[in-house]
Amino acid sequence: MIEHLLQSPPGWIHFLIFFCLGAILLAIVLGFVTYAILAERKVLGFMQIRIGPNRIGGRFGLLQTVADVFKLLIKEDIIPKLADRPLFILAPILAFAPSFLVLAVMPFSENVKFADIGVGLLYYIAVSGISAIGMLLGGWASNNKYSLLGGMRSAAQMISYEIPLVMSVIGVILFTGSLNLTDIVEGQKHVAYMFLSPIGFIVFFISSLAELSRTPFDLPEAESELVAGYHVEYSGFRWAFFMLAEYVYLFAMASLMTVLFLGGWNPIPFLGFIPGVIWFALKFSLIVFIMIWIRGTFPRIRADQLMEFAWKVLLPLALLNIFVSAAVKELFLK
């Protein structure tokens, strides 16, 4: 039925169906964010020998995040008098919209996918770059010294780590010969690309942590030095959208990593009877868990180490990876 729909000329009925399907995905993503925050707090709690949230919603604090969101919804909305009002209002929207927009090309299984466009990977990288503008804009529009410095820092970190991030996937593109994310997963039928391009995988993983501004790269939100970075002046739901964007990117980045390096919905040999969506969810959850684990165990990197690490370590490694991948392709995949 979907095949037929895609092959007929686009019209309002298509728009309506796509809108409903997109809204379902949005609801799933919001559900993920709600429970990812709870999972993060719980896992961090157990790692620090605490219990974590356990009051609202039964023993496991299942409604804690829901309560937090409602609290934010009824918070007074304060826009400083000196702030640039239109840009101040625009910034959270500009930061959030791309984070959901990138999910349009993500294939979750053979059947569960949305836009199947030829330049999927390039689209992801191009669109996710827009969020850095949202953060810089938020920092600038607040007319606050902390937030201006925080915004500058965020933007510098984002662009520095974007280079190794985009270079490390060239190995994957070489193996597949396509930028289409479905083709990339199909190409991993026999072996996942994390084994063929281990350097690329490690570089990608580290830079994705920096792109998500998660520990050990959470300098943009270093509470102890910049108060809260680019969103000092934001309160209530405007602030919530910056945070939401961060967690939706966590969803998107973990999905992208699953697709590019862990083989997407392809099963581990002999376990093919388990459906693809479940495989995808398992690999995806593993990455999210490892990211939380890293947050629980790593200290924050220093500002002077941050930039040097991207340009002096990750970038040369990513460049090297291109030619190592070409050699691997010549030797093993021909």
Partner: protein
């Protein structure tokens, strides 16, 4: 004709996602307006500066130390623009293009080494 429709429909999905991504914040903030209190005072609307009276604006001229990183970013981002099509078409291009790409990457690496030696990447 079918393929053309599939193509158009796929980009319609992207447009729908863009619309949803804008509608959610706009909708949530509008709904919030009905729920949240609004009692503005003069003190609330001042800029936060750790409790002291804010002085001056922050929109002043100052040395943005990160601009050199921005320049480097542009160079290497353009490099990826060349590397992506090459990686996609690798099978058709063959060994000659691989050597060409190696020379191209080497030239840019020289640029990186130059910036490194000039202590551009150093934090001081």
């Amino acid at each position: 004709m079918d393929l053309y429709n599939v193509y158009q429909n796929n980009y319609l999905i992207v447009a729908v996602f863009l619309l949803l991504g804008i509608l959610l914040p706009v909708g949530a903030l509008t709904a919030g307006r009905l729920l949240r209190p609004n009692r503005p005072t003069k003190e609330k609307a001042t800029t936060y500066e750790s409790g002291i009276e804010p002085f001056q604006q922050s929109w002043i001229q100052f040395n943005v130390r990160y601009y050199l990183f921005a320049l480097l970013f542009v160079i290497f981002d353009v490099e990826t623009v060349f590397l992506y099509p090459w990686a996609v078409a690798y099978d058709e291009l063959g060994l000659f293009a691989l050597i060409e790409m190696a020379i191209f990457v080497l030239l840019l690496t020289l640029g990186l080494v130059y910036a490194w030696k000039k202590k551009v990447l150093k934090w001081n």
